[in-house]
């Protein structure tokens, strides 16, 4: 049986599934329930500095978008950091950690961008026995208007500065939670590393308006007729998060910097993908908020079952395995040729592949053959774009099949070359010509 025990920046947990800093980790009651359900760790919902706590709106905090059958695809929130007293949180953190010594308890922090503020709070957290801290430099709403959260995370110099202060004033591991509301995530990760941070976690939520109420013309979620942007998360953001994780994992400047992967993780499969792209563990929020804490059991068993099927003994056998396969477009093999193939036995004849290809792509799929409704790929037209695969409602009905070297590509009339050749070498690339001269 695969061993999925996890060690992340020295913090041990029985599995790589942590609950992200968010409403599910706001108080002992929830965290106790999460640990009972099997979660490997939590990042306690962000604590602010001592004094009167922040206040939240008293109307809707969440918005969402849905797919078929109202399956929640994307979710957003305008909730702020914890609105409970700092010392109440600290007492609960200490108690929970005592109750659950084998679980990871990391504390998320957000205080003003001043050295004294950080210097003041760090010993208080350290005293709880918590395993580490995560700096919330990503929250994009509310707190950012007060110069915290993503307002800090959008400035690499601040990231570096805060990382340095925290490493200076605590022995605890320091994780920097990054905002995706930037143009290039690598600059933020590099700054964290320069500042001495032990790890980065990403992504935090994305600036968003989930919808507009067409009766009142107000954005959702709506507070008394008005709305402000919220932080977007859930399954819809996973591709964005995967890309950012991979970008940091393969950046030579941040190579080896541990990454805690966050963003739309809903199943074991999502988690495995983050691990494969270089995340050392994962954090989950929306899936728990949608289905409850029990989902972790599917994630744990699913991950183990997959590792067993594939012969991966430990997480080390998985983490980063896909990272080397992420490359730049210019290095993709232009001599690789694949064609769509429709399994006629699996085809239910909905025709979506045809109309997608016919209206919007390459006119490479029939709709009628010999007067009969029949969908088949015309290889002489197929560029292998994968659109038909993506719109087909039946999994594995349409597959992309690579042509072996030497076989004729009916579209070009040329045999498939066995030689790897990319854009940097292509005759149409002006840069390639310059290099050849």
């Amino acid at each position: 049986m695969a061993d999925i025990r996890n060690t992340f920046v020295g913090i041990k947990s029985p599995n790589p599934f942590w609950l992200a800093s968010a409403p599910p980790t706001d108080k002992a009651y929830n965290v106790e329930r999460a640990f009972k359900a099997g979660w490997g760790g939590v990042v306690w919902k962000t604590l602010g500095e001592e004094g009167p706590p922040v206040v939240n709106v008293n109307g809707p905090r969440y918005g969402a978008i849905w797919g078929a059958d109202r399956r929640l695809l994307g979710f957003n929130n305008i909730e702020l950091i914890t609105d409970r007293d700092l010392y109440l949180n600290l007492r609960e953190i200490k108690q929970v950690k005592m109750n659950w010594p084998d679980r990871a308890v990391v504390v998320s922090l957000m205080v003003p961008c001043e050295e004294e503020s950080w210097k003041a709070i760090l010993p208080l957290v350290e005293e709880t026995g918590a395993d580490g801290i995560e700096l919330n430099l990503g929250c994009p709403h509310g707190m950012s208007e007060r110069g915290m959260g993503s307002a800090v995370g959008q400035v690499p110099e601040y990231i570096e500065m805060l990382s340095r202060w925290c490493k200076q004033y605590t022995r605890m591991p320091v994780i920097i939670k990054l905002t995706p509301n930037i143009t290039d995530i690598r600059h933020a990760a590099r700054a964290a590393k320069r500042g001495g941070a032990d790890a980065v976690s990403l992504i935090n939520t994305i600036n968003s308006i989930t919808s507009v109420n067409l009766d009142t013309f107000s954005p959702e979620p709506t507070i008394d007729g008005k709305g402000s942007h919220g932080g977007y998360c859930g399954p819809a953001v996973k591709p964005i998060a995967l890309h950012m994780v991979a970008d940091i994992a393969r950046d030579p400047e941040t190579q080896g910097l541990p990454i805690s992967g966050i963003g739309g993780i809903t199943t074991w499969r999502d988690a495995a993908e983050f691990l494969a792209l270089g995340a050392g563990n994962v954090q989950v929020c929306t899936a728990a908020m949608t289905y409850g804490f029990k989902v972790v059991q599917e994630m744990i068993e699913g991950l183990k079952d997959w590792m067993d099927r594939k012969g991966h003994a430990t997480l080390d056998d998985v983490v980063g395995r896909a990272t080397p396969n992420v490359t730049d477009w210019r290095y993709l093999n232009l001599n690789y040729v694949a064609k769509a193939h429709i399994d006629q036995d699996a085809c239910i004849k909905c025709g979506r592949c045809h109309i997608a290809c016919e209206d919007t792509s390459h006119q490479a799929i029939t709709s009628m053959v010999d007067g009969v409704r029949h969908f088949e790929v015309m290889e002489e037209e197929c560029v292998g774009c994968n659109l038909c695969v993506n719109v087909c409602p039946v999994e594995n009905c349409i597959t992309m099949q690579p042509l072996a070297a030497g076989t004729l590509d009916k579209r070009t009339g040329e045999p498939v070359s066995p030689v790897y050749a990319n854009w940097t070498q292509h005759p149409n690339n002006p840069m390639a010509k310059v290099a050849a001269e």
Binding site: K349, R352, I355, P393
Partner: protein, 454 residues
Amino acid sequence: MAEGQFKQGVAGGRLAPQQYAENFSDLHPPLDPHEALVEADRCYFCYDAPCMHACPTSIDIPMFIRQIATGNALGSAKTIFDQNILGGMCARVCPTETLCEEACVREAAEGKPVQIGRLQRYATDVAMEQNKQFYDRAEPTGRKIAVVGAGPAGLACAHRLARYGHEVTVLEAKPKSGGLNEYGIAAYKTTDDFAQAEVDYVTAIGGIAIENDKALGRDFSLSELTAKYDAVFLGLGLGGINALRAEGEDAEGVENAVEFIAELRQASDLSSLPIGRRVVVIGGGMTAIDAAVQSKLLGAEEVTICYRRGQEDMNASDFEQDLAAANGVNIRHWLQPKRVVADGGKVTGIELEYTIMKGGKLVGTGETLSLAADQVFKAIGQLFEPAALNGSGASIAMEGGRIIVDTEGRTSMAKVWAGGDCIRGGEDLTVTSVAQGRDAAESIHRTLTSNGRA
């Protein structure tokens, strides 16, 4: 004396009073908004959707379902009515399992088609409950058209003609309009007087005057119509009943299934409607099922359908056969009626002969079976009664006992179109009649406007 269900002979009041309402409630209760959304989400919005091709009226099904899914039920209803103004009734009575839902790709994918019929009902109910009218009449053309028969074909024809600005007079032999929607079809398929509500909805467009109790051949002749109107549409339906051709079929208790169904549909108090303790229905189509199931629902103890061919030959759909079985109707195959057994002129049973296919022909085996029966319903098909047409001008070309029309619904007689069950090649379905009535209206409109006068 045995009481209730076990009363001998043909008697009413077999059930407790409240049981009737329960037995004859909606067969498919309407979807609520949540159910409709869940079901609509299942539609794949297929290209050139097979369901559309399977629909005789070619409703744009993927579009109306998408409109439901996006919260636009009224828009959805318009998509339906654009093709089929009787979309509300068709949603209730269409054998969807052999039409759109059989063609649904989800049927191929998982054996569970999108419930197109129930979604269609959902959308049309929303529009009809609000009496939302989608169509304005065109400028009056001054043209007058007579439609004979206020059944599905006639109503569809009249509505389309009215849209084009023509003045339509509908002549209906029966006291109520709606045709088989009103007088045929099992009661549990169209509850709450829906047929009349639909007639009102269709005629609300204006320009349609319905005259009831006006029968062709009795109250007016075809030649009078052709002289008085610019065009005539015949949507006459089938007035006759095939004979059993079994000895003793004039005994008391041998009845036409269609008349039984009509009587039931018009009954104000179902408990007063007499039904046999033991009922035998002869036939294998929808009418046989409607008669048999309703006999059972009226409290008959034993109901048997006898069909002279095999299960696969039955015109009743699998769904209808299952419905009958679920209601306790016994369906027996390969049996043809031979002799009605009577005592004192009243039916006491029926003698049937087993049949077999021999050399491509159905023949009796000589072996017989006797079933006790207080009532025997004939449901072996209806026929067109051409008598009304004759002697009223030039006769109309017929074939196989029904009127011949071309692809546009034109008969052999000038100015006369026809559609619905009375024409050759009809499928005896409400939805087909609607399509024929609608298409004939288009043809009439084209004809009347091509000479430049309108």
